[in-house]
């Protein structure tokens, strides 16, 4: 089992690089062969990645979220799965490049530095913690996907506004589809982050009195509220297009700031992750 795990650990970055390459060729050249092999490549890579994480879980007896490198491989898979879902839903191959490149980067970093041992802090063995971390990873992945589609929206918006009918115009899905993708991903992120905050609060209240003063907790709450506001304005006030996309991007900048702050600048009990 160790040998299989090690093999998959080496293979996955290669598979993601090849998949991303196929989608890149398809985006720039609309190559018929690339179009034909893109999805089978992605499905195969995702399948092997699921196997890899399942093996890790069985072998090390914890879900693969205990270290930053385990989180990275889970994020890589989440992004790929989210993209696969979007591709099946929208029948458009053309945004694969922009997401799968992140899966490749995350998986490569994870494969390079991940520790193949069962070391796992006892404090993190709670099922509540497992739900907390898993939903956090899924939530942040969804926000990242929302931000990527938001950026693609802005690119296409700019080209459409200035009558530039180049590669972006020809390849990207329609503007309202990109906006919808960004919004739906943000909604998924809000749901997962609500679970993250709820489980985290219950779990932390038993171990860290005054957890609600923790900077990471506060920042996460703010992020959640920003996204809620954006979604609320879409459904309540009819906000569409650039305004909601900018709000989503602002939320994602806050996420990056929050992660950096919790890790490097502010004292937080989230330091173990």
């Amino acid at each position: 089992m160790h040998a299989t795990l090690s093999l998959l650990n080496t293979l996955l970055p290669m598979l993601y690089s090849m998949t991303a390459l196929v989608y890149t060729v398809d985006f720039f050249r609309e190559d018929p062969l690339a179009m034909r092999v893109a999805r089978p490549f992605l499905v195969g890579t995702v399948g092997l990645h699921v196997l890899y994480l399942a093996l890790r879980t069985v072998l090390y007896e914890h879900i693969p979220l205990a270290s930053i490198h385990e989180v990275m491989t889970t994020v890589a898979l989440s992004v790929a799965v989210v993209y696969l879902y979007v591709e099946l839903k929208t029948k458009s191959y053309k945004t694969g490049l922009f997401l799968l490149v992140f899966s490749f980067v995350f998986q490569t970093l994870s494969s390079a530095f991940i520790s193949n041992t069962g070391d796992f802090p006892a404090i993190l063995r709670s099922p509540l913690f497992a739900v907390h971390t898993l939903s956090a990873v899924l939530g942040y992945t969804a926000f990242a996907v929302s931000a990527i589609y938001g950026l693609l929206f802005l690119l296409l918006y700019h080209d459409l506004k200035t009558s530039r009918f180049g590669l972006v115009y020809r390849r990207l899905p329609p503007l309202d589809v990109l906006s919808m993708m960004s919004l739906r991903a943000a909604i998924a992120g809000v749901v997962f982050l609500a679970i993250t905050i709820g489980c985290g609060a219950v779990w932390a209240s038993q171990r860290f009195p005054g957890f609600w003063q923790d900077p990471k907790f506060v920042m996460t709450g703010v992020i959640w509220l920003v996204y809620c506001a954006g979604i609320g304005m879409h459904y309540g006030l009819g906000w569409t297009g650039r305004r909601t996309v900018w709000l989503s991007l602002f939320g994602f900048v806050l996420i990056i700031f929050s992660v950096m702050a919790a890790r490097f600048w502010l004292p937080s009990f989230h330091g173990f992750a």
Binding site: S163, D176, L237, G238, W239
Partner: protein, 466 residues
């Protein structure tokens, strides 16, 4: 007697619009001319392709030179003047070049707008007309099927027909880059002239939630609205209609903008800033250029639409070599199928020859046998002949007439078995079977088709004329 396939005609490439207009055939005139050609029996088969960009006469006859003169005379009779006389405005192709030309036409390679798909339907219509007029036979059946197949392949396997190449269709495709689905959108067309009508028709195909037609003359707006299933309004109602419209296409003659920026700003306020698309197809401009500065508003002019049209045309032109390759492939396949048909009469003649020898010899010697044995003798001799012919028949069917060797082999078969019948032309000289070029032998083709049991023109006489 050898025959030839011929096309005589003119198109947008060779003739000015005035000549093309004079040469154009309406449905009734087309049918009359085809019936005339069918009655006069100079041509074995005839087809007339008449569109706004071309008028072409396709014919299969036993004498190409005579057919060319006849076609020109017929035009002179029908149109009152020798409009298709020899000169720079007309062209004539023979045999293989004719087939290639028809396939190129069907594939959209010879169209004014390269790759346009309408021509494929027009080729089919021309063929149906020829059938109705009684001038299409087995050869045209096969030729048209091959040309239409080539056209379909060109459109399905390449991007020769992709992208919008008119301003109004480019407006629709551009709008669909902003709204994926127009079925929930309201489209306002300002102007019921030629551009407005085309835009309304194009958008109607997308089945929008509402199609609003505004025009200075309300009656014209009502007529267009009735045509496309929309609602009619006056031009003064445009500012109010902006609140309802997601897409606005304007094509009217006006000195002042019909759509002002402040009207759009007000409309946006009422629409909670929801996205709006404007296409200004008018000269001078119908829509205030300041509209383009508003958030979530996209304004396109003739200039920007021209960019899309040019890009799509360039993309289509890049596909031309691939389509030319398809045409050559289908051309070769067509001639192969014709050649294959032409082997069938040889087999039949061989069998007939052996059967007649067998029957003659059996008849001669049958009286030596007892009456009770005669049926057995008949069966025995038939069986021997069948067995003797089995291998030669199989080998003849395998002959590839596309190659010189194949043609020589068939000639050798004829010589060995003493067959010089009229049903088969000499492979080396028959334009239809010659790999080096040219096309048709009306007699041979019709005989081959009849022999192979192909449904088609049963009306060819010995000269290949109908």
């Amino acid at each position: 007697m050898n025959g030839e396939l011929l096309v005589v005609g003119c198109s947008h490439r060779t003739a000015p619009l005035a000549l093309r207009e004079s040469l154009a055939f309406g449905p009734d005139q087309l049918l009359q001319t085809l019936r005339l050609a069918s009655r006069e029996r100079v041509l074995a088969e005839t087809l007339i392709l008449s569109t706004c960009h071309r008028t072409e006469f396709y014919s299969l006859s036993t004498d190409g030179a005579r057919a060319e003169v006849y076609v020109r005379e017929m035009i002179a009779r029908v149109k009152g003047s020798d409009l298709l006389g020899p000169g720079p405005c007309t062209y004539a192709y023979r045999d293989r070049d004719t087939v290639r030309h028809l396939m190129r036409v069907a594939a959209g390679l010879d169209s004014a707008v390269v790759g346009e798909a309408q021509i494929l339907g027009q080729v089919k219509d021309a063929y149906n007309m020829a059938r109705e007029g009684g001038s299409a036979g087995a050869f045209l059946d096969r030729l048209l099927a091959a040309a239409i197949h080539a056209g379909k392949r060109a459109h399905s396997e390449t991007e020769i027909g992709s992208g919008s190449v008119s301003f109004t269709s480019a407006t629709v495709s551009l709008t669909k880059k902003i709204f994926r689905d127009l079925s929930g959108k309201r489209v306002l067309i300002v102007g019921a002239g030629a551009f407005g009508r085309l835009a309304a028709e194009h958008f109607a195909e997308e089945r929008p939630a509402a199609l609003l037609i505004a025009n200075r003359t309300r009656e014209r707006a009502e007529a267009l609205a009735a045509h496309v299933g929309g609602e009619a309004f006056g031009l003064d109602e445009v500012p109010a209609l902006l609140r309802r419209a997601d897409v606005v296409v304007s094509a009217v003659h006006t000195d002042r903008p019909v759509v002002r920026a402040d009207s759009v700003r007000e409309a946006l306020r009422d629409r909670s800033g929801r996205t709006m698309v404007f296409a200004d197809l008018g000269v001078p401009r119908n829509i205030d250029p300041a509209v383009s500065r508003l958030d979530n508003v996209f304004l396109y002019t003739l200039e920007s639409l021209q960019t899309i049209v040019d890009q799509n045309l360039a993309r289509r032109r890049r596909e031309v070599p691939r389509v030319e390759a398809i045409v050559e492939e289908e051309l070769e396949r067509f001639f192969q199928s014709v050649r294959a048909l032409q082997v069938t009469p040889v087999v039949r003649e061989l069998r007939d020859r052996f059967e007649s020898i067998r029957a003659l010899e059996t008849e001669k010697h049958l009286k030596r046998f007892a009456a009770s044995d005669r049926a057995a003798v008949e069966a025995l001799t038939r069986s021997i002949v069948n067995k003797l012919l089995h291998l030669p028949t199989t080998k003849i069917r395998e002959i590839d007439l596309a190659s010189e060797k194949g043609v020589l082999r068939l000639d050798a078969v004829r010589e060995v078995f003493g067959m010089n019948g009229d049903a088969m032309p000499s492979g080396g000289t028959d334009p239809l079977t010659s790999a080096a070029g040219s096309a048709g032998n009306a007699d041979a083709f019709v005989a081959a088709e009849a022999s192979a049991g192909v449904d088609g023109s049963a009306g060819a006489d010995g000269d290949g004329n109908r």
